[in-house]
Symmetry: C2
Subunit: 151 residues, 2 copies
Amino acid sequence: MTPFDSARARLEGHIDRQGMKHTRQRVQILEVFISARHVTVEELLRAVQEAAPATGAATVYRTLKLFVEAGIAHERNFGDGQARYELAMDDEHHDHLICLDCKVIFEFEEQEIESCQAVVASRHGLTLRSHRHEIYGSCDLREACPRWPAS
Amino acid sequence: MTPFDSARARLEGHIDRQGMKHTRQRVQILEVFISARHVTVEELLRAVQEAAPATGAATVYRTLKLFVEAGIAHERNFGDGQARYELAMDDEHHDHLICLDCKVIFEFEEQEIESCQAVVASRHGLTLRSHRHEIYGSCDLREACPRWPAS
DNA sequence: ATGAATGCAAATAGTTTGCACCTAA
DNA sequence: TTAGGTGCAAACTATTTGCATTCAT
């Protein structure tokens, strides 16, 4: 089962369960979304419009919300004013490390940090619900940079 | 030296260094800002207008940016669509724990998490520059909640 | 047939900017 | 005097919404 198939299965299940309809657009948007990482609505819209030029921005916004409700996408905000979406795979969790120089986005998972968080929450009498953790760094556009020697 | 005095000193220094001007509005906004925590522009504007009704929103936006440049304020975004600002005190750092039920914002500092982050960054060849870490939890509006038994 | 989804355009919300007037230095 | 600041309104950006039309069921 490819990522597309399992995401689609989950989406169709959600659509059926909610008495919604299966549409061409929803599948087309999912197809493009699957092979993208941390896409903005604008990027996704442009890509979708290459196959289906009539697609409207509102549909992409609405469909991404649907993906989030169906549990196949996460919304992210990296502080540049526009939301980004990424595929939500089963029981996988990660946070992000963003390079301020070359804008590369890495994903990381640090069990030690994860467990600290529950402690912090309970210390204040709260039950941990979710979190958001982004680390910003610099690659100085040197060899270590995945885009080196990009402009 | 009160927090207001040291913030004001730093602001005036920045203003002088940049050849800017000292204005009534900047001091008035600082006065209100000092005694607020995680304020939105709207909240700050309303409070400032109680003392100086003619103050415009643009001035508050511009002044908060100035505060950030002067190093006396941090901009925060807790995902509700509007920026919040808080006083930046010397060599103090903290992250946030937000209650999804009662909206209380706690501050926390966890040295273990801090040091993990540099490791994560270097693991990917980056130098740590900054980070953003928010933990979201629930108080279930019970006794532990600082606003209990609020509505 | 009929109700939900789409696409467009208009509406919002938060923030920024242009510009005439004001004010600190 | 004069550059920088302010206040207002208009512009902008990302996103949402109203509505007539289209499409899935």
